[in-house]
Symmetry: C2
Amino acid sequence: MTSPINTIIEQRISANLFDPTKALSAAQIKELVRLATCAPTAFNFQNWKFIAVQSTEAKERLKAVSYGQQKIVDAAVTFIVCGTLEAHKTLAKALKPSVDAGVLDQAICDSWVAMAAGGHENNPESQRDEAIRSASMGAMTLMLAAQGMGLVTGPMIGFVPADVSREFKLSANDIPAMLVAVGYAAPGNWPQKPRLPVDDVLTIV
Amino acid sequence: MTSPINTIIEQRISANLFDPTKALSAAQIKELVRLATCAPTAFNFQNWKFIAVQSTEAKERLKAVSYGQQKIVDAAVTFIVCGTLEAHKTLAKALKPSVDAGVLDQAICDSWVAMAAGGHENNPESQRDEAIRSASMGAMTLMLAAQGMGLVTGPMIGFVPADVSREFKLSANDIPAMLVAVGYAAPGNWPQKPRLPVDDVLTIV
């Protein structure tokens, strides 16, 4: 029994309350990240990293640098979703599976690497935009995949980036873009909050 | 017959080739944006705008500032997905539907507006990150919703932001984060390109 995608999109909530007794297996965590990485990235950069914070010790460290948010310890796992800077430097590696599979030929791969370098070298704003964009699309896909598995998710921007980077030994190129708590709902969560009318945010030209 | 969400995620492609003979109705465009805006945003900012470029005239103008990408004219519609700066200034309006529905009380709404202002005022990097993050999550949700309707999508970062802003009269606060072409597939598109192994991008702690 599967829900149509529009039902999953409509029923997703930003959960604050998680059942602290229920865990996720490593296999479930890997499956969530596998699906998250099906999201698109410019040039197929795949310029993201996912830190799955699951142990009691690591949850406490993350909570301490995230304004004490209780859902980090109650949820089965909280992902630190990072986008990475200087993505043009790792693009050849990111495209290798496509070349190996015969989807892209080496000449296209080389031309993309050159184009990406041209756009990103010496352009910190483009690099950061790309990091935030890729991480956000990956996180969104992860949240919908989780919803489809009967889980709930809680996205968070309430954390101190420099402290998260230090505690979890992120490299200088790894930008923590968002935290996403994932687990089983406890009672009492808000529903999805109402949105502005579509006509307030859409123009057709 | 609906596909499970993981199938939709796995089958989504970044399409380059669209059937230029097939259009989308205004109702279909509105439904795509309604679903896109079910995506979460920090504080429920809803700091996004969607410009649906559908007329022949507007498509030609967008193509001209997007390195001549043909899919912009071939696709039924291309969305300019914008994130907006200074989201804290419009948060009270964005939360009004939640207050009116009784989901949030006015005191919580007021406290969120104060918190958001504290984090975003005089902080252009946070504002820009938030704009890119919200627009990217909205765009990702739109792409999956479209896939669920039997459509294909082509996300693009290949455009000149200042020229797009001028041509489509965006305000200084509207940051075009991504273009998303939407329509019906023509033959010959790439499959979803292979990804790096999950263990390359995931750490469990």
